[in-house]
Amino acid sequence: MKVALAQISSVLGNVDKNLKRHLELIDQAINQKADLIIFPELSLTGYTLKDLVAEVALNPGGSSVFQELLEASKKIDLVFGLVEERESNPGIFYNSAVYLSEGEISHIHQKVFLPTSGMFEEGRFFGSGREFRSFKTRFGPVGLMVCRDLLHYCSSYCLLADGAQLLITISAAPGRDLSDPESQGFETSRMWELMGEAISFFSSSVVIYCNRVGIEDGATFAGGSFIYSPLGKLIVKLPYLEEAFVVQEIDLDEVRRARKSWPFKRDDRPEVIWHSLDRIIRKEDED
């Protein structure tokens, strides 16, 4: 399959302008025969929203913006980020990743781990998602994560246990720490790459990470999107700090080959983890 990574910046709080940009890049991806295009976290809205969260929220069932993207998904599968407000749950906003395919919503993942410390204040504005669930696509089972989700290793474990073979993380990770004289990017980028590499190897899955670039209120988003093969090999890495668009061929049979050589998935024991967690949680309750 061919995957397009759109490492872009967004206009903060202007869904119409961002939709236009999405549609342009979707056309570009279709022209280059991509099967799937991936945008960064909150790609339709920008990241540093604060009180704008309520003003840019979209209802997946009812918005015209969503209709346009559903229409586009008849030609190419799409993953993008938005502020989600469901009709059934008004006034509660989620930082969500959406997978659209063939004019339908395949899955919406609501970000579970909302960074709320230091420079981050997502927990102040968003509700947190309550599950990780893999879902079927025409390329096999996929798991979605949003940014910080990837850094909690339980997230990708749950998706692996649920059968995912392709792990997609959309991200708006600001860069911090420019202390290494040899580095081409922020030190925090190294953290994402290490996590992506390790998870791809231990989950024997394709790991795709699409991060944004640009500057919002002084913070620079780091870029450096990447794809790792199920054997922990770097397939493609986009530049740091600059907008980039790439269409990359991925060999999905590599999942099978990886799982034959390294049967982590076969030998996995979710029930052991379940029992252990059950005991740990009960113990916490008693303490």
Partner: protein, 270 residues
Amino acid sequence: MKINACLVAKVLTNFIREEIHKAGFDRVILGLSGGLDSTVCAYLAVQALGSGKVLGLVMPYKDFDAEGVGHAEKVAGILKIKWQKIDISPQIDAYFSAFPTESPLLKGNKIARERMSILYDFSAREKAIILGTSNKTELLIGYGTIHGDMACGINPMGDLYKTQVRELGRYLKIPEEILTKKPTAGLWPSQADEEEIGLAYEELDSILYCLVDLRQPVEEVIRAGLEESKVRRIIEMIKKSEFKRKMPPIAKISNRTVGHDFLYPYDWDK
């Protein structure tokens, strides 16, 4: 405390380019003192926008810092930027002849605010946003005049300690004499930052780095070999100057109050 100067320059030039455009400008203006900070800032601005988009104002008071004025003119010449010298002595002297004082601090603050006032006036005339030149050291210990040299449209260097600004200056190849001269706020003759603060910048920055970046408790900083009285004095300076780093508190009456829970980004719709 080391920085990757090449990458820092790239991030800061991106910052200048992107944030001024978001604010609706394509030009910047800054006060040139001939010192390290404004020189490095001018070099970054030219790298980001080109010489034609950078305006420098040199604003001497009498001959308080003649060497600085010479250096500022040299920097403007090297960078080929448009610049102007405005002698602020008449208005400062007129004010203090009406309200005399012997306090160098009062005089210094007035001078800094006069420069700010001229920069904002020229900012509007020239449609150029003001680049702030305060560094992280100054901001943290409050070594600057509120609504004076701390006032600006955007500040590219506020997250770099003084010693890191010097490292960046070395990378940007600013004139050697500016890189190595004794730092001065230039608010009275022969003023020297390090004498006034009572600490060398190297020592000051390493204490700030431990306290602020590493968030070490005081005891830990002292155990690492830094002098207790100095560490405690710096903490007091940080505490006392918090008001310079914030908008003033607003009395809360309603459910939604500016500065409390009316929260929008600077780059709203940009």
